[in-house]
């Protein structure tokens, strides 16, 4: 364990900064109500698109709402939707991947072809279309982002199960009469954990990006909820007068997505270096 932590932190300053960003994001998301100077949804029409001031550290938007508070609350939405979508896709993907790999045959064909079909539709288009069919709102965004990420888990778990299901200890388990469910969950699944943790971390970044893009396009979480994507979109009309309105939330998205990717890389090197180039 100590060695793994050492490998994780020995990847240079970038790794450390990115780890700090992830920790900061989690902290901000949890304590947004305490950290935010104002209510993110309160309009103040006498103070619209105002620059930096002591009252509003990052200025106000086109409805006079405090930009700083909206960015802090936006972190909450980003993390919340991506964790829920990640958990949803992980559970579904792990179950389907285990079943496809272990039972093989027709079941494997059916699951893998469905996976191919989801992958044939660009992830962004898939989530947009599915979220709109499900009627919008946080839950439908979570489900649609989750389903679009499921193939990554299915493919990975399926591959790993295929490579280890012929191992002696699995055969031994079968011979002593262990139930399939027990072999799957107690003996095969733990082998996938290192890759699953890495994939989950990287998918958090992907989930945040999808949610932001959906919000930007106006198909995401409905206003007035503060989301980074919608903030970039709202600020667009004021690009000449107040460019920071659009640029700042964008910088937050980049920092967080890059941070999750780099932390994912670090976890991969620490947990299972053989995955290099695969994840």
């Amino acid at each position: 364990m100590k060695r793994k932590i050492k490998v994780f932190f020995n990847r240079g300053i970038l790794s450390e900064i990115c780890f700090a960003i992830v920790v900061l994001l989690i902290f901000v998301a949890i304590f947004a109500p305490l950290l935010a100077p104002c209510d993110p949804n309160v309009n103040d029409l006498r103070n619209v698109v105002k620059g930096v001031s002591s009252e509003h550290l990052l200025g106000t938007d086109y409805l006079g709402r405090d930009v700083m508070s909206r960015i802090l609350y936006g972190a909450r939405i980003s993390l919340y939707t991506s964790i829920l979508a990640g958990a949803f896709s992980a559970v579904l993907g792990i179950l389907l991947g285990l079943a496809a790999g272990y039972f093989g045959g027709v079941l494997n064909q059916v699951i893998m072809r469905l996976t191919d079909a989801i992958l044939a539709i660009p992830a962004l288009i898939f989530t947009l279309v599915l979220a709109s069919a499900l009627g919008g709102g946080v839950l439908s965004i979570v489900i649609s982002i989750g389903v679009s990420l499921v193939p990554t888990y299915i493919r990975m778990v399926n591959g790993q199960v295929l490579s280890i299901k012929e191992s002696d200890y699995v055969t031994a388990g079968k011979l002593i009469g262990l139930k399939n469910v027990k072999i799957l969950l107690r003996h095969l699944l733990p082998n996938c954990f290192p890759s699953l943790i890495v994939l989950f971390t990287m998918n958090l970044g992907q989930g945040i990006m999808l949610e932001a893009t959906m919000s930007y396009l106006g198909v995401g979480i409905a206003p007035p909820t503060a989301t980074w994507g919608a903030m970039v979109s709202d600020g667009y009309s004021f690009l000449t007068t107040a460019p920071l309105l659009s640029i700042l939330p964008g910088v937050c998205i980049i920092l967080v997505v890059v941070a999750f990717n780099v932390v994912g890389d670090g976890l991969r090197d620490a947990l299972d270096p053989r995955l290099r180039g695969k994840l």
Binding site: L14, R113, L114, D116, A117, L119, A120, I121, P122, A123, L124, I125, L128, V129, L130, S132, A133, L134, G135, G205, M209, A212, T213, Y216, L217, G218, V219, G229, V232, S233, Y236, L239, T240, P243, S246, I247, G250, I253, I254, L255, V257, V258, N261, V262, R276, G277
Partner: protein, 316 residues
Amino acid sequence: MGKYIIKRLAMSILIIFLVSVFAFSLMHILPGDPIRIALGESVSEETIAEYRAKYHLDKPVLQQYGLWVEGILRGDFGKSLLYGEDVTTLIKTKLPVTMAIGIPVVLISAFFGILFGVVTAVKRGTWMDQLITTIANIGIGVPQFWIAILCIFLFGLKLHVLPIQGYTAPSDDFGKYVYMSLLPVLCLSFGFIATITRQTRSNMLEVINQDYVRTARANGIPERSVIFRHALKNALIPVITIIGLQVRIIVGGSVVIERIFNIPGIGALLIRAITERDYFIIQACVLVISLVTVGCNFIVDLLYGVVDPRVRKSWR
């Protein structure tokens, strides 16, 4: 080889069939009447019934699917729910626009991505490597809409050198097409150049240390030839897969870019249809887009055989 191609083709058709089932069932996922959702609550029952009959929505679901597929095979995607436009004509006019932006993106990203990948691998550890690798690492995390807004701010609103929206077809005026598409193409390429750079760099680093590269050097083959003729050729094989997969993401990205730069492509059409809940257009767009991506993956699979004799051998 023929057998492999037929098998791959059958698989592609199966995937398209599954996508068509998904696209078709979109309208039926939600409880409620798609016609009522599209036309609003104020429309009379008679109008709704009339629309239902017109779009075959009064028939059993399986028959509806059959009629829809039959229409597509005849080249008829049906009519828009809201405006009565012919969906096939819409797709025919919008798809070339998306391709006119997408194809240069693939070419530019492949060229620069491979170039930067080779440079960073060959000059490993130098400032150039560190600079390009850092930009590439950030590049994969930059949202397309944000880079587009930044470019509009910089090149359009501050420097006034490039137009911030609009589109001209290459067949109408090629010079103007290049001028109008420069910004959208660059914005869409940014992330892909980053991805391809990273992939090429790591493959090159792996290949460059292999024995045959050392042997080539020992035989006195010029360094340029060692890098491009011997090392890159092998490093490119996984890169081709990445480029194939990128096509899917580029088509997805076109939704964002077309919206921002006001380009009348299939992505913009899809967003309009989604916001207006015009299901027949959504179904058609999803199907056509996946046809493009599945087609590209099919070609990439065949290209594999062309560049790698080992793959060609396994086809037999």
